[in-house]
Amino acid sequence: MDLGLSEEQEMLKTSARDFLQKECPKQLVRQLDDSEEGHSPDLWRKMAEQGWMGLVFPEEYGGSGGSFLDLAVLLDEMGYNILPGPFFSAVILGGLPIALTGSEEQKMEFLPRLADGTTLLTLALTEPTAGYDAASVRTEATARNGEYVINGTKLFVPNANVADYLICVARTGKGDQAESSLTLLIIDARSPGVRITPLKTIARDRQCEVVFDNVVVSEKNILGRPNEAWPIVEEVLQKATVAKCAEMVGGAQAVLDMTVNYARERIQFDRPIGSFQAIQHYCADMASDVIGSRFLTYKAAWKTSEGLPAAADVAMAKAWTGEAYERVTLLGHQILGAIGFTMDHDMHLYYRRAKAGQTIFGDADFQRGIVARGQGL
């Protein structure tokens, strides 16, 4: 058993923290939060130079062949610094399906360009039911002379507003089961009939509505095998769920650090408020939540990285981390008092993301449903 990071991972962690502190100060985070795109091509280019977008992809596709655990370490730091922009959607939601199921040609076409920062992708999965189940996918892709015609509405497609390509999960037949007739299609976001509308969210996480109105793509754009998309989607979702946990662990750690620093410095009644047991005990509970999240998340990430069955561990990690991150930010706000209730202080940036992170890829109740199945219930 080894519950620590490797030397290389520690180095990755340190260099990521240094890079983000320098290149993505909170001022830039706020600026991007308020911008239309929520994306800085300049920062993106620098991140590409760090090799981050290609971290988990094989070297032959322009990546560096890192492990999923390496990616979790990086995401942890991105969460710590609340990196805005399309990293998560491009690499995890867009890149992973291509790496998992793409043809040699597709991998050669997309992954090197994703790695060098020239192409952005995202996954168009959820629809107005907002559920992560196969039955919720109603968008249809109808075959016609070697082409597919796509019609339907996708909702909560992250960073679609800046994406070059959308990986669309569409219904391509009338199978007996909801899972059995779904297909992945790579769609140029600039295709006629694609209409992308960013949604206003409190987390400023650039969730979009994407309408496909008679969008025509070649059958060559099918990713993986027709009608067999669902297992791939499930695998991507499972990985994305751990990845999101890693981000949230970093965020929760930052909130703890920020709060403890404040409690050390803020003087009331002639002493630092951090010397009062009421505050100390809140901080102790925050620390416990952060550690618990960290271990559940890294265990799930490690299993994922090793290719071991991880469904129950991932669900446990998300069930715990989603709620723990919220608890941590709520206590952080309580300890900060009025200053935390302003736009000036950074705390709200984390709180907003905690709220959004809690629901994405299934909230704690949803995850506990998966855990319960694992318990044989």
Binding site: M1, D2, L3, G4, L5, S6, L69, L256, V260, A263, R264, R271, P272, G274, S275, Q277, I279, Q280, H281, C283, A284, D285, A287, S288, I291, G292, F295, L296, Y298, K299, W302, K303, M316, A319, W320, D365, R368, G369, V371, A372, G374, Q375, G376, L377
Partner: protein
Amino acid sequence: MDFRFSEGEEAFRQQVRQWLKQEIPQRWVELDPGIWEETEESWAIARQFHRKLGEKGWLAPAYPKEYGGLELSHMKRLILAEELAYNRAPVGVEVEITVNWVTPAILLFGTERQKKEYATRIARGDTIFCIGYSEPDAGSDLASVKTRAVEDGDDYVINGQKIWCSYAHLADYCWLAVRTDPDAPKHKGISVFIVDMKTPGITVRPLINILNHHSFNEVFFDDVRVPKENLVGQKNNGWYQVAIALDFERSSIGWAATNQRIIEELADYARETTRNGQPLAKDPLVRNQLAQLAVENEVARMMAYRIAWMYSKGLHPGYESSMSMVFVSELSRRTASIGMRILGHYGELDRGSKWAVLNARLARMSLSALSIGVGGGSNEIQRNIIAVRGLGLPRK
């Protein structure tokens, strides 16, 4: 990172399991005493079992070989503790106190004679200690002890009162903290003694615990003469020695494993029980609650693993142990609470009731779990430790 146990460790786990399957006496299983529920009969079985464990070297596996230990690795000890608790072996708080609190301090501060005499016998399962720390006016504020020890010839003469002494009526020795210098600042006038419980002048008076069992005692010392050679470590250095002893490996893994077992039993119960025309296991609220307990217990287990892992790396966890204890103690209470609600009206049935389910373990646990998070440093003290030592928050 690697969350797996090694092959050798997994084999050791199987070995322990197999052994426990053979060696846990059937009568113990029938009695099924929970924590703080010892009877004369169960105590006798437990003492016998301690000796069997001692023969294997598994009672005090951490000790140096010269004092009867195995110098077993931290990870194997973790596994052993986990299996003992999960399989409800006849090993209770008396072993935790004797093996994990008292003896490490003897090994650290004791004379060669003390190490040989006590550690070796403890490792064999022949000797049980009780602890004499708390007094009516010294609980969490342990440095306030008033019980006095005064030098007189070759002895110290002890007068005063201790309280909450678990198993003092059954233990062979008391690990006693007393004041040896009343004029020094309160942390600097305390010493630690090993006191034979058969010494004249000791009166043990039972305190009946919330489970209606006799586990705690008041212990009165009335001109009790203790030879000077029973002083452990330096005179007036006792506070420091006690603090170190309280800091020794507090294995919270036992609580997590106990909890794991009960959560699994609740899941079985939910599968087998029909309510409102369907298995309880189909009720979304029951599923949600049992799943949450499983998640929380995974947190508790990882916190305990973390401590063993830190030791194995040569690190010395401090606040990490506090965090682990706070979490698992509160989780035990939640488990009992949720468990009783899942059992519905049956939840309140006590042991011996005709209709009791799961041997009334949940109802008993709802009472016994009140003690975890109080004994050995309350959760408030533990949270202070996390905040001050772990997070660097100021004391003043």
